[in-house]
Amino acid sequence: MKREEFLECMAWCGTGVVYGLSGAGMVGRALADDAASSMPLPDRTFVQISDTHIGFNGKANQDVIATFSQAIDKINALPKPPEFVIHTGDLTHLSKPDQLDTVKQMLGTIKAGAFYAVPGEHDVINDGGAEFFKTFGHPSGNRWFSFDAAGVHALALSNVVDITKGGILGRDQLEWARTDLAKQRQDTPIVIMAHIPLYAVYPDWGWTTDDQMELMDQLRRFDTVTVLNGHIHQVLSKVDGKITFYTAASTAFPQPKPGTAPHPGPLAVPAGELGKLLGIRTVTVHGGSHTIAVADASLAS
């Protein structure tokens, strides 16, 4: 895709979502929210964090532990602890034992009902993910899994192992997803979580998932599908029918906007700007209406 086409797509695709900067940071919400009046059921929340890269030390951020600590403080300062926290990958920079130990200890200080993680390519770079899945994987030992919490049915997927171009889900995982999704009601809010974007953000940099279309076809019958990804270290959104895609900010360092640099990678920004480009995401599931509101808060807010 050429850059002009990409920008055109982003502009067009953005029409269904209110998204931008506010005094409280980056916020987004589905337009359907406006139709929802006060409902008797309480709102339920969960939090997404991403790309903490413990072990990174470069010009783009010389203290990734400090910025991750700020992100944890923001989660712990929420009015109500989230029902769960999902980390969408690249917990560590190089999957070294001390890095895994540090991030595990820090994650343990988060006040939330449960913690889940999906792997990033940095989490599988040494051993195909063996250590990552042992430390952060699902108790079942499965490398992909689903769960019900916060009023949603969530699929936690792996699309970073044996990648050849963009991300890859693979035959086994797609078949598992088909079986899992077939059991869900059409009006159950579905949340899909994976590290590499599940739509074509910028294929030249590998910012896409090669076999995502088959998964999308399985998702089209649902009333509300929210796809949460990491990997690209910036907040982007796209609407495709009833499926809305959101990529997340990192807690460690930003990356260039798609196609604006010769290659992807850690982006050094002027002092004072870093916190504005890092953040956490709170997802609110409105009781009764089943609508989803996504709010991104920067570490500077």
Partner: protein, 105 residues
């Protein structure tokens, strides 16, 4: 005498394995295609802040994650064409062409 000395030097040289290096920088193998004689040891050094790997497309060799400044070597003993990539950034591609080892004169 002079002839014998030259022969000794020649044998000593052929016994020493050759070395060459490839820098990994700006999300690219800086010498994407190199040709070496069998027995050559190739070393890769990562100069980016992001980790990279040197992974054979057929998985016959794999450096695993190389952080900034990390180096990894591999000795190519058999002639052939070896294509490789970075497992974290598959758009980074490289090729090593290994020719027959130079015969002693």
């Amino acid at each position: 005498m002079r002839f014998i000395l030259a022969a000794v030097v020649s044998v000593a040289l052929s016994a020493m394995s050759a070395h060459t290096s490839v820098a990994i920088k700006d999300y690219a193998f800086q010498k994407p295609v190199i040709t070496v004689a069998a027995g050559t040891t190739v070393s890769w050094t990562n100069r980016d802040d992001d980790p990279h790997t040197v992974t054979a497309d057929d998985k016959s060799f794999d450096s695993k994650g190389l952080g900034n400044g990390d180096a990894w070597t591999h000795t190519f003993t058999k002639p052939g064409k070896y294509t490789y990539h970075c497992s974290a950034h598959p758009f980074m591609k490289g090729t090593i062409i290994v020719t027959e080892a130079a015969k002693p004169q």
